[in-house]
Amino acid sequence: MTSSIRRLCFAFVALSSAMAFQPALAEDTIKIGYVDPFSGPFASGGDEFLKVFGYILQKVNADGGALGKKFELVPFDDKLQPAEALIALKSITDQNIPFVMQCTGSNVGAALLDGVSKHNARNPDNRVLYLNCGALATELTNEKCDFWQFRFAGNVEMRAAARIKALPKDLKKVYLLNQDYLFGQSVQHDTRKWLEKLRPDIQVVGDELMPFGKVQDFSSYVAKIKASGAQSVLTGNYNRDLNLLIKAAVDDGINIRFDTYLAHLIGGPTAIGAAGENRLTTISEFGPNVAVELKKPEAEAFASGWRANHDTDFSEINFLTMLQMLSKAIDKAGSTDALKVALALEDAKATDMVGFPVQMRKEDHQLLMPFYAVSFSRDVKYDAEKTGFGWKTDFIASTEDLTLPTTCKMKRPAS
């Protein structure tokens, strides 16, 4: 009995180590180390992104990859912990993988930014590029900007500018509710800043930070919001912190808008359902209905190709843009050397899948891209997550609209 168990254990160990080494055997691909949470409470996001990248890579590799080679993703689980992400970075550099990509969490992003910068200073012959596809805190391309980071996702301030521009003209009183951590505070700060700049007529009747992921019953918040007389809740909340808030509001019967930043994140539409109809808005990168409204059949075909096999929607247009720009930059540089690719990416211009111009700004390595203000409506061609409701575009904030000044003073490498 015991010996058979022991044999089983050995078999497992042998099997798992064999699987771990397998990717290292294939040498003819361009590897990208992909660090995101694949276990723990935020695994749903990482899991989804990994599938999305699989779908995108099919297209990018079919279009020729780079240098005649295909791209290959090597995933690393960071459990949304900065320390775990740094361990992953160590294995990435040990395996001589030239790119590290990360799409969830500004705290993890800040740690990676710092880790990559230090690694490159110490190991000039084994440098890596940090491709940031979702650490959104504004400061990562401002005070904390770094030559080795390229951010292919709109930062919080760009989203805030789009958010405030898209608010309806008759809105006069808003309530700010955000999560008490780096991202929520960043949203709070930038929302206030852009409200003052663009809509001084709007009165902020409440401004509050709430514990991140700890609140079980939002009815007291709803009572407070109601007492303030607000017409809309402006919030950076997501996942449970948003779903439970909207649920409590519906239970209460209060008639109020929810102008959010992240309601379109995976699982949001399912959890919110009919409760969000015509009162829930969000700021998104893309969606299948955007392609329909702008009459871009190619983009629509790409988005529906994803829908055919998944319950979710393809909205990560910036991931596609990132890999397309990266493959062009590698071709231009003629190698995967981090410095050469970085120089080729700087000021690179491209058009995204729906035909809007985007640009990787040289000063701060921030991708300048458009955003879509969308609302949750029955009146759409493609519904979200099979809920019967989908995201309908109300307003497009163009790339020029969102080209905001940066305070970045980048230290550039000598050569």
């Binding site: 700890k214 609140v215 079980q216 009815s219 007291s220 009572a223 996942n239 019967g253 959890a271």
Partner: protein
């Protein structure tokens, strides 16, 4: 005034949900000495099972079936898991339930996926029960109160008025004596463990659509349930009840309080200025740290009264 009344009602609903979870845990804890880490995972299982079952037979049958399934799972865990590690001492049992948390978490993710389930309040209960100062009180919350009150009464009658209850109570305090009198104490253990899991499952059925049914729900409920058990005191259903309601009230009321410690000190002539750490801590409004208060209270009670509010022996 109106905010207070609404908060009292909502605090009561949340407190009763906590009580359903905590009562099972406190029974298991006090009887077997096992802090069942997986208790909140059973709560999550209850919600998921209820979602799946209710798709076939409707919500009300699911209200019965899902908790029974959870009870059976609990019995299986006790018979084939806990009992085997029992002779290695409490640490082994503790680690066993700790491991179960991850296994159940992973199983749920593999079976139902990572996304929240569309588990909604049944249409027959989806209407406002009454309107209070312009705010709806949903019928479903009333239903939750009803179910938890019925459960409280049922558990109390079972423990105090029946022979099984008598043996369970005796086994709580004098397991060796009960065993010497010819009762099968291991079977009593299994019954209590299964019963505790059944209650957790029931809490899951009505909590799953009150909140959201998603893989993170065990993690968000777990810590607060432990706080309730420790605060209320071991082996005391009454203490557990009081602690649950108190915690529910604290969490809902904390949100409404926009004052900080600094505001409290101001009338006494103490003015805080500057940018020191102390100023920072004292000027944080209570609303922002509300979720922390139960833990502060637990630490405090462990300090001054280690046996908890109405406990009969030390933690």
């Amino acid at each position: 005034m109106e905010t207070i009344l609404i908060s009292v009602l909502n605090g009561l609903v949340y407190g009763m949900l906590l009580f359903m979870l905590a009562s099972g845990l406190t029974l298991i804890f006090s009887m077997m000495g096992v802090l069942n880490f997986a208790h909140a995972s059973i709560y999550m299982l209850g919600a998921y099972l209820a979602f799946t079952v209710s798709r076939f037979v409707g919500f009300f049958p699911a209200l019965i079936i899902a908790p029974i399934l959870c009870g059976l799972i609990g019995a299986a865990i006790e018979i084939w898991g806990l009992r085997r590690v029992h002779h290695n001492g409490h640490i082994a049992e503790l680690l066993f339930t700790f491991g179960l948390v991850f296994i159940i978490q992973r199983l749920v993710q593999m079976t139902w996926g990572m996304l929240p389930m569309a588990y909604r309040v049944p249409p027959s209960l989806d209407f406002p029960l009454f309107v209070l100062y312009g705010a709806n009180f949903p019928a479903y919350r009333g239903f939750m109160l009803l179910v938890s009150a019925a459960m409280l009464l049922g558990t109390w009658l079972l423990l105090k008025k029946t022979r099984i209850g008598l043996i369970i109570q005796a086994a709580l305090t004098h397991p060796h004596m009960v065993s010497s009198l010819g009762h099968n104490v291991p079977r009593v253990f299994t019954t209590v463990f299964a019963g505790g899991c059944l209650l957790a499952g029931l809490a899951g059925v009505i909590g799953g659509n009150y909140q959201t049914t998603e893989p993170g729900m065990a993690e968000s409920m777990g810590p607060i349930v432990f706080v309730v058990v420790v605060f209320g005191g071991l082996g005391s259903l009454a203490g557990c009840f009081i602690a649950s309601v108190v915690m529910g009230m604290i969490q809902t009321f904390a949100v409404v309080i926009d004052y900080s410690v600094a505001d409290l000190l101001r009338p006494m002539g103490v003015m805080l200025t500057g940018d020191t750490l102390l100023t920072e801590v004292l000027t944080v409004p209570v609303a922002r740290i509300g979720a922390l208060l139960p833990f502060v209270m637990m630490v405090t009670i462990l300090f001054f009264r280690p046996r908890g509010l109405m406990g009969t022996r030390d933690t």
